[in-house]
């Protein structure tokens, strides 16, 4: 197999380094970029994201990527906020997002049993099979950090529960995204990234 060329879209988040290191542990050097040509030419594209939805959308718009991203045809992986940005909208600052998947990210309401942000390890359960989950058993733990989430939709590949079930992994055609951080989710996180890079 030819070595993948991975474009990491620079959405302005703070923790790009941990993703770069996770790829490096798999022998891959990701290229951090907002250049449309570099992104289009890459074999794989990753949209990470930590921070606010509106800020990131503004940044993507400025770089001319909001029309480009939904039209990409190579394997695409959103991470955390990157998942939320792929949906229609986010309640966070009433932001219109990329619209690859129908659905809206909504804020978790704190309860005495459940702190917000949802921060920590949680189990995921698949709704169907996918090569992305190859070797990852149901009930595996992944590391989540988020205050907004998308309910379970037709595109949900795996869900987790925090009060109610929410989308942990979404997938349709070449587009996929994880609400958790595979780059900080131990061996199964690394396996998910590896599965993605084998696409």
């Amino acid at each position: 197999m030819e070595a993948p060329t991975v474009a990491i879209i620079d959405s302005g988040g703070a923790n790009i380094a941990s993703l770069e290191f996770a790829l490096a542990r798999l022998g891959i050097t990701g290229q951090l970029t907002v250049d449309p040509d570099t992104i289009t030419a890459a074999s794989h594209v990753i949209l990470p994201g930590v921070g606010a939805a509106a800020d990131s959308m503004t940044r993507l718009k400025k770089a001319g990527l909001t029309d480009l991203i939904p039209g990409l045809s190579q394997p695409f992986l959103g991470i955390c906020l990157g998942l939320q940005l792929l949906f229609t909208a986010s309640e966070e600052d009433d932001t219109q997002c990329l619209g690859v998947f129908p659905g809206t990210a909504r804020k978790f309401m704190p309860t005495p049993e459940r702190a917000v942000p949802h921060m920590g390890w949680n189990r995921i359960t698949r709704t169907r099979n996918s090569d992305l989950l190859h070797g990852i058993p149901d009930g595996s733990h992944f590391y989540f950090v988020h205050s907004y989430a998308v309910e379970v939709t037709d595109d949900t590949l795996a869900f987790a529960e925090y009060g109610n079930p929410f989308t942990a992994i979404v997938e349709r055609a070449n587009f996929s995204a994880a609400q958790f951080h595979p780059e900080r989710s131990g061996e199964f996180g690394a396996l998910l990234l590896k599965n993605f890079l084998h696409r």
Binding site: N15, A17, F21, A115, P117, M119
Partner: protein
Amino acid sequence: MELATRYVSEGADELVFYDITASPDGRSVDRRWINRVAEVLDIPFSVAGGIRSIADAEEVLNYGADKISINTPALATPGLIDQLAKRFGTQCVVIGIDSRAENDTYHVYQNTGDPDKTSHSGRTTIDWVREVQERGAGEIVLNCMNQDGVRDGYDVAQLKLVRDNCTLPLIASGGAGSMQHFAEVFKQANVDGGLAASVFHSATINIGDLKKYLHEQSIEVRI
């Protein structure tokens, strides 16, 4: 580094690196080591100590830390919490609070890295917990000073009170001496995590064994 990789192989869920002497010394630290840690760790990790500005925080995060934990500088400049949350997102701003009981009320202490410089911050713990939540903190690590280092069990009463007064993830710190202490604090104070240093460091408690034990006690853990 050796310790970090040992903890990861034992099954630690998160690592916190404390440079506790940074604040009392007023020094800026060489932080290149963060990069080396981030390269090998595949679980989240926080860095605490001496982070006094947006620029300090940016440096730590750029080196690959997932969260920054601030304590004394937040007490000196509470607006720093708002700035950090706005710039980097709530999820990576952890507030460390050193607290102990005095005349039936819990009070916050500062510069606790050096016993000679430790002083009362002039704030009560509950007021400070509410304020940091309001300002945009994403997590609270409550270090109960009267229990710290004594391995006598977490301060369940205090943690329970703080739990009832905040909706943020709450991490218990100070006092862990046995596996039962962890079970106790998860069950009775409903905390989101238990932090310990000396019992893990000295290998008195193996993290893998601890998680097996907690699982047997019907506490949800990643095994």
